[in-house]
């Protein structure tokens, strides 16, 4: 199955391309990029064709699906064009930067009868999936609350450009855990409160710290720290953690804890070598599978919209200084 990658603006594109190389039943056939130089380099690196003209690429009939890894605000036009060309789509998170854009993308996919999947790879992390199974099996009883983090390092580039990214750390790091909570609890957030600030990197002029409090319809409450609080010296990029408190116990997840600590004198660095399973490979394999089997989309555009809505609500809450009700109006 031929898959194309539309833009390498988001660094996850590299991992998705590697995943496609590893899958026996899929290939990275073509690359398009708004930055032709980058696109050419990436196409060469992954032994794919670089196609400078997006419309030409989308007209290639043997390309079954596309992966959109452009900057957040550029998802909309690429997804709509791909949908209209009849391509199935895996869209990088956050799905967009506004509700209207996300809805337009969903509508375009629906109208064209193509699959639109949101890239929430953490659902494919085996430790995370195990926690999901344990929660759903009722092993900690009724869930009451959760303390979560999705810390990161400051990514720089367009991630700190409000026009392109739609926001800083809160936009970047709310949606993964928001999606995991919606998935595990089978519930929707009805209220968000957030404290947000630009406190670590004064020169980037965008939020690098965020702390969200969410209330679900069932009454479950959860907090999420989205801060880019891992300094460059830290041995890894960040984390996804969840500490879920239930009536009968507590489940504690540190999704990327499967590491070897390396203290390298020769490389003059300390790092954690991750030996856990490759969740990106699991997600890309599933995207290929749902196209091949014409199966339902496991993580829909609507899931992408609802997770992004929580980030947008956080910004509104910080602006208004009070909790904000969802859905946003």
């Amino acid at each position: 199955m031929k898959i194309a990658i539309l833009s390498f603006a988001h660094m996850h594109a590299h991992s998705y391309a590697h995943s496609l190389l590893q899958l026996p039943d899929a290939e990275l056939a073509a690359v398009w990029d708004e930055d032709a130089e980058r696109g050419q380099a990436m196409a060469q690196q992954f032994s794919a064709r670089f196609v400078p003209d997006l419309d030409a690429l989308l007209k290639e009939e043997d390309i079954a699906g596309v992966i959109v890894t452009a900057a957040n605000a550029d998802h909309r036009d690429l997804v709509i064009s791909a949908a209209q060309a009849g391509k199935h789509i895996l869209c990088e998170k956050p799905i967009a930067t506004t509700i209207a854009d996300a809805q337009a993308m969903i509508d375009a996919a629906d109208a064209a009868g193509v699959k639109l999947m949101t890239a929430f790879p953490v659902r494919y992390s085996p430790p995370t999936r195990r926690v999901y199974e344990r929660v759903r099996a009722g092993e900690i009883g009724q869930v009451l609350g959760a303390k979560c983090t999705n810390h990161g390092s400051m990514p720089g580039g367009w991630f700190t450009d409000k026009e392109k990214a739609g926001g800083g750390a809160v936009m970047d790091h709310t949606v993964h855990v928001a999606d995991l909570l919606r998935w595990m609890l089978e519930d929707e957030v009805v209220e968000v409160y957030a404290e947000i600030g630009n406190l670590i990197y004064p020169d980037i002029h965008i939020d690098d710290c965020g702390l969200l409090s969410m209330r679900f319809a069932s009454g479950v409450f959860a907090t999420l720290d989205t801060s880019w609080s891992r300094p460059p010296i830290f041995p890894t990029w960040g984390d996804v953690t969840m500490e879920i408190v239930g009536q009968d116990g507590v489940l504690i997840l540190d999704a990327f804890r499967q590491n070897v600590e390396v203290y390298s004198q020769t490389q003059n660095r300390i790092y954690w070598a991750h030996w856990g399973s490759n969740m990106d490979l699991g997600m890309i394999a599933d995207f290929v599978r749902i196209i091949r089997e014409d199966a339902p989309v496991p993580i829909t555009g609507y899931d992408g919209l609802k997770a992004m809505e929580i980030a947008l609500a956080a910004y509104r809450s910080a602006e208004e200084g009070k909790p904000v009700s969802l859905p946003l109006t």
Binding site: L144, G145, K147, E191, Y193, E195, I196, G197, L199, I200, Y201, P202, D208, C209, L211, S213, R215, G219, F221, A222, T223, D225, S227, S229, R230, P231, I233, F234, V245, Q247, G249, V250, G321, K322, P323
Partner: protein, 335 residues
Amino acid sequence: MLKVGVLGAGTMGSIHAQFLAQIPEVQLIGITALPASEADPLASALGIQRYDSAEDLLADPKIDAVVIATPTPTHVPLITAAAQAGKHVFCEKPLARYLEDGQRAIESCEKAGVALMIGHVVRFFPDYERIKEAIDQGAIGKPAILRFSRVGPFPRTGVKNWYADPEASGGVILDLMLHDIDTLRWYCGDILRVYAHSLTGRTQMERDYALVTMRMASGAIAHLEASWSHPGGFRTSVEIAGDGGLLRADSRESAPIQIERWVTEGGRGGVALPESPLAESPYLIELRHWVDHILHGTPLRVTPEDALKALEAGLAAMQSAKTGQVVSLARGGVA
């Protein structure tokens, strides 16, 4: 020489009495408890007098200073009575269950000219002291986002299970989180506003659990967790990210001893217990600090005003959890 009496012979009263007995400048005179007989084993073990009531102990002219380790609702009446009797006071946290009462207790000590120190013992824990030093030395720059956690079993030992009555104890926020609220202020200064979720009133109090957000006057953001809902044993953690670095401490990660024992009878698994022994207990250091303050005028590391401010923020968190609204401390705070 400071002649000290102890009010309360529960968990904390016993700890304080035993450490007071180790301070050379202290002469431990006696102890009382309700019911009075609870103080008997401790009194005979330490060879000190057992008083029948707090009134009796406070009326004894031999006693210069008292340690109050009784349930929270009795703190203010006992502080006030001790002050009126001219005794210096050390009182377990929280200072009071309500803000005006706490204010009143402070004023009564000021008026009587006696010392008052509230047992915010975390300021005497060496891990928390190292963190304070690292911040003050600029090791992580200006604190930006702080995370505190304090998780442990519900204190079942109290008289009449008083911890389970939020009206009496203030639940997990005033019992556990208050430590970290005080520490947060110690590290970062004043708190501007508070938003909280808790299980208070939604589950049995023995499983109380709270997640609280605070915004500091400095701009920093803080997250605090306190829980009686975790079955895995007591532990604390701190993480502080600043504009120049990050620091992390976790009591379980830093425990130098893990004891794992086979459970032979009827059980498959064993139990693992972490231990972190120190040459001197922080409780002893805390009491010696109080004694030094009274006898030698050493400035208090935690002032009555600090205790009142921590209480104010704790009460704000309880109020926010109840109302779902943000509580601002900028304008006079909460009742």
